[in-house]
């Protein structure tokens, strides 16, 4: 238990682990959706603390990972135009497109900038009236209200040179898809805490009831995750399938009404393609017709293209929890965070990057022993 002394409260962590061990009598497969939670689980070796009955698989909740290849290609095309200032979260710059990534566009003289908030892009549009400022609006329900506010504000100010390239996806439709797969192994889910801070968790109650699968809304600290796992194991062992809220300090059942209201003023639900998974009906957002002038795909008329993934990359299976990153023959050799072949190796929220960062030395040790 070498990682336990790094916890804020090692005694509590130990007690939670002991309780999970005591409760677990049968094998259970649990999935965390959120890539930030994947990262914490790996960083603190939580999977290694759990009894052998409990298997953790990692879900598709990494925005960088599920943004489709075609969308990266569109971003590259728009960012290459001389009149454009293309603004993005840092991780998106390194995601491989079909031929180039955004970093290469920048290196070739494209004006690609990194921002912390979409409002930074609105500010750039205000200050550079002669340029077209485009924000790469990726992410799940948590990032959608900030992006909605950016568009809403730009419209209110009458900014004609601001638009967003939208690739917004939603958690519940992805969970539904996973549960409908004939080969699904996941028996319980940790629901993402900040998505639920915005959305509340009534959507998950429908899923729990329909598929008889327990959910616990979890936070992002190691103790949050241990507690969420303990609550899920208790539900599974007792035959319950409910939605419980571990992350009470931020999440209510109703969620954030003010944020949702603005979000639905600006966005509406639409079909979306997910990298590695494919098209999922009603699984994301697009801008409403009233905000069409802020839709970068329309402003720049970028055509829909078909793009193929590198055939060896198993990102699709990793994102659905069917394979672990270490099952990939390219892992840590041809595919590393410095030279990613697939998106999950790029993002700090990607499962492959988390395994690379925290697990590759263990792997070398294991392989060394076998050899």
């Amino acid at each position: 238990m070498k990682f336990l002394d790094e916890y804020r409260d090692p005694k509590l962590a130990q007690a939670l682990v002991a309780d999970i061990r005591r409760r677990a009598t049968r094998p259970w497969v649990l999935m965390e959706i959120c890539g930030g939670q994947t990262h914490t689980l790996m960083r603190y070796g939580i999977d290694n603390l759990l009894p052998p009955e409990i298997e953790l698989v990692h879900g598709p909740g990494c925005p960088v990972c599920v943004t489709p290849l075609e969308m990266i290609d569109k971003a590259v095309e728009i960012a290459s135009r001389p009149e454009v200032i293309f603004v993005s979260y840092g991780d998106m710059l390194r995601v491989p497109g079909s031929s180039r990534d955004l970093f290469q566009v920048k290196a070739a003289g494209g004006d690609v900038r990194i921002a912390y908030s979409p409002m930074d892009a609105v500010e750039l549009a205000r200050k550079n009236p002669g340029r077209k400022v485009v924000f790469f609006a990726v992410g799940f329900e948590t990032t959608a209200p900030p992006n909605a506010m950016a568009v809403w504000q730009a419209k209110r100010e009458g900014l004609k040179n601001f638009s967003i390239l939208v690739s917004h996806v939603l958690v519940p439709p992805a969970i539904r898809l996973l549960l409908e797969q004939p080969h699904n192994r996941v028996q319980a889910f940790i629901a993402p805490g900040h998505v639920c801070t915005v959305m509340g968790y009534s959507e998950y109650e429908e899923l729990a009831a329909q598929y008889r699968v327990p959910f616990v809304v979890g936070g992002f600290e190691p103790l949050d995750l241990l507690e969420a796992i303990r609550m899920l194991v208790a539900q599974l062992e007792e035959g319950r399938a409910e939605v419980e809220n571990q992350y009470v300090r931020s999440v209510t059942r109703e969620g954030n009404e003010a944020a949702r209201q603005r979000m639905f003023e600006v966005f509406e639900i639409a079909d979306r393609k997910w990298r590695g998974i494919g098209e999922i009906g009603q699984s994301g957002y697009r801008l409403r017709e009233e905000f069409a002038n802020f839709d970068a795909e329309r402003v720049f008329g970028v055509a829909a293209t078909r793009a193929e993934e590198p055939p060896e990359c198993i990102a699709a299976l990793v994102l659905q929890g069917l394979k672990k990153p270490v099952d990939c023959p390219m892992f840590g050799s041809r595919c590393t965070p410095d030279h990613p072949m697939g998106a999950p190796m790029v993002s700090s929220e990607g499962a492959c990057a988390a395994y690379y960062r925290y697990r590759r030395h263990d792997l070398v040790a294991v392989t060394g022993t076998i050899a």
Binding site: L93, K127, P145, A259, S348
Partner: protein
């Protein structure tokens, strides 16, 4: 090299940091607050927490407060994030336009 360069600027799109609202003002019709995170102060948009006032603690995600939290929970979460090395990632450098060229 480039990976190292950009890792510092990666934004985790699921993270939020707790901070204390110091004061609020309205700029261009939007409610903005100065929010203190440990020793660092940043502006945050407050329209999504309409009842939050100076002295309140909020969780801030990509520059937007998305929920109110109580003071003890905020302090606890902040300390955990510090231990996990996540604060630097979120608060390290405020990206600005000088990065463009």
């Amino acid at each position: 090299m480039r990976a190292k360069l950009y890792r510092r600027w990666s934004t985790r799109m699921c993270l939020a940091i707790p901070g204390k609202i110091l004061d609020t003002e309205e700029i261009a019709g939007i409610r903005i607050g100065r929010v203190q995170f440990g020793g660092v102060t940043r502006k945050a948009y407050l329209d999504y927490v309409p009842d939050a006032a100076p002295g309140d603690y909020v969780m801030v995600h990509v520059g937007f407060a998305i929920s109110k939290v109580d003071q003890d929970e905020a302090a606890r979460t902040y300390e955990s994030m510090r231990i996990m090395g996540l604060l630097e990632e979120e608060l390290g450098d405020q990206p600005g336009e000088e990065r463009g060229a």
